[in-house]
Symmetry: C2
Subunit: 349 residues, 2 copies
DNA sequence: AACACTAGCGAAAACGATTTCGTGTTGAAA
DNA sequence: TTTCAACACGAAATCGTTTTCGCTAGTGTT
């Protein structure tokens, strides 16, 4: 078990000083060609690699970025991570990932831990609980310490920092508009409670689409799911005897549950009703019928977030703004859950 | 933008020495009650937190573990990460995640980068390409440097280290046995090429189950998928006019593709054939029909891996073995794709 | 011969923390 | 009055680098 080689050991071995070794390896002109070659050869032979920790301490930067996400099991977040990783690695950065599990306390602890030297900056999507509590002291604190922070997806408007979001309102609007174009007349919305910002925004998009088409929103066509765990039953209950012909759901799972619920009532999708979801995950692609969804381009979001953060990090002396907000456009991916040729009404003609 | 507080600043502010501050904060008996209180109060007031990097350098340990996985988009890996995270955090460790994207080169680079001080040890599932090349120098190297390594899922037998695997052979055997119990007579296997170790092992389980029931394996009932991207067509082609009544697939996607292919031929699952997959992901739960699968307990595997690694790290002076291999049992989760009451033959009686 | 320069290298400080080993001041025992 | 332990604190080494500054010899200039 050979221990890692250090400058000091090389110096002792070759009978020169530590500084000489360091300079030689960094091609300083101060060192003669001879000794430089000798030292480099030795270092290469024994596979010397400088110690990152020592470098971090010296340079006061770690070349790693901290990512804090609410949960990793959501396919969307994994695609974002993918994008972050890619962009970060291309620029010589590492990525530390922590999960808050949607808990405020864990989010705070993780940030504090990472803020003490482990990372140069943060990419964050806030926990649900944080959105509820509206306690952002941990966020303002890292910003005050001069650590750049980029928020994505679930962002906090009151916090002044770089942001990467999707156009939730427009994405939802596009989806609902599509349902309207398909001649749906009673369109249900399955969304989350309002303190989840994306739920709120997508609800807004739904309402705007209705309004633009001079349709009146009906409260009994809107379900705001409180608890994810019991959402399947809640949705089934909600859709019972509603006689709707279109559903817009703010995520994949709600959409799938809606389809299942409709099937239990003897209604087929897309024959009797169209369904559109949000987030283009594996489920949407493989489910039968495959789901038309609003795709969020997670990898793109991740890459943009990383790009923003690195830009701030490399710009000399974190100059405190101006902050950017990048809006990543959504895309409506059409699949079988809105396939017109299947729809019964059409066949009647 | 207040900079982070250091011991030195506290010392200057309170007109004592750095060592006094350090000792006071660590409750050393050397320091008088008076000054100790004073220093602690000051530190608390200004929210002093020691710099992790400096501690890492001093202690020669980072309290972080490096995780290298082939791809994050597979639901299985995200559950493993979840398990690692949980266990690591409970023990005061951080987690750095890197993806090899199944590339040998990226795996090597990532390991070398992290090995230079960034992490104390590794948890790894090797890239496909590494399994092909059989070049393990980067693995032996970190082990030689005294860094503990735990491999999970895709492990390399020749490398001597702690391992966490599932019982692939038995898992597959259980699944196939179930199909046999359901009176299937022509059972197809959809697997991967043999150099993917899990594919090989699950194939073995399939064969053993057949043998134990005195059924003869038929080459034309076995498909070894080479390229994931074209697997859907390959599977459809393979199943054309095969007249099988059972399918065992080594992952979720192959199982789903099989069901789709059968449906295109006018065969219904489970009415005309049973299908069992491997890996209990979101897809299996939500697909219609929902999939019977061999569940791998990813979080459990991750937790075990982290536990093994931390154990090695905390045991004084990495005593070079003995190495453990933990086998996490699989579990057959029954869903509709093997629901007997749906099967036509039964209804005939 | 006196001086200025430069090439080539080493000493030491710095990053932020911990820890070992002094050291000066008490107060009490002899 | 002397001696000594206990107490409370500081100096310095250490972890592994980088970088500034200084030093020494050799060379060239007048």
């Amino acid at each position: 078990m050979k221990k890692k080689l250090t400058l000091k050991q090389i110096a002792r071995e070759l009978d020169v000083s530590v500084s000489t070794v360091s300079k030689a390896l960094r091609d300083s002109a101060e060192i003669s060609e001879d000794t430089r070659q000798k030292i480099k050869a030795f270092a290469k032979l024994y596979n010397y690699k400088p110690n990152n920790i020592a470098l971090s301490l010296k340079n006061r930067k770690t070349k790693t970025i901290g990512v804090i996400i609410p949960e990793i099991i959501h396919h969307f977040f994994t695609t974002v991570i993918s994008g972050i990783e890619q962009e970060a690695n291309e620029n010589g950065y590492h990525v530390i990932i922590c999960m808050s599990n949607n808990s405020f306390d864990k989010e705070v602890i993780n940030m504090e831990l990472l803020a003490n030297g482990s990372t140069d900056g943060f990419i964050l999507s806030v926990a649900k609980e944080t959105q509820q509590k509206q306690d952002y002291h941990h966020l303002t604190e890292v910003i005050n310490q001069g650590m750049p922070l980029v928020m994505f997806d679930r962002v906090i408007d009151e916090i002044n920092c770089d942001k990467v979001v999707i156009d939730d309102v427009n994405g939802a609007k596009k989806a609902v508009q599509r349902l309207i174009d398909l001649e749906c007349e009673k369109i249900a919305l399955i969304t989350t409670v309002d303190y989840v910002s994306v739920g709120k925004l997508r609800t807004q998009g739904y309402l705007e689409a209705l309004e633009e088409n001079e349709l009146l929103p009906q409260d009994d066509l809107i379900l705001k799911v409180e608890d994810f765990d019991s959402s399947e039953e809640e949705i089934a209950e909600f859709l019972r005897n509603k006689d709707i012909d279109g559903v817009f759901a703010v995520n994949e799972h709600f959409a799938v549950y809606a389809i299942k619920a409709l099937q239990q009532q003897g209604l087929k999708v897309p024959d009797d009703a169209y369904v559109i979801g949000f987030t283009n995950g594996e489920l949407s692609k493989q489910f039968i019928p495959s789901l038309t969804t609003v795709s969020q381009h997670g990898a793109e979001m991740g890459a943009q977030a990383a790009r923003l953060l690195i830009k701030k990090l490399e710009s000399e002396e974190a100059e405190e703004g101006p902050y950017e907000t990048i809006i990543v456009e959504t895309e409506l991916v059409e699949r079988n859950s809105t396939k017109r040729e299947f729809k019964k009404e059409i066949l009647k003609f």
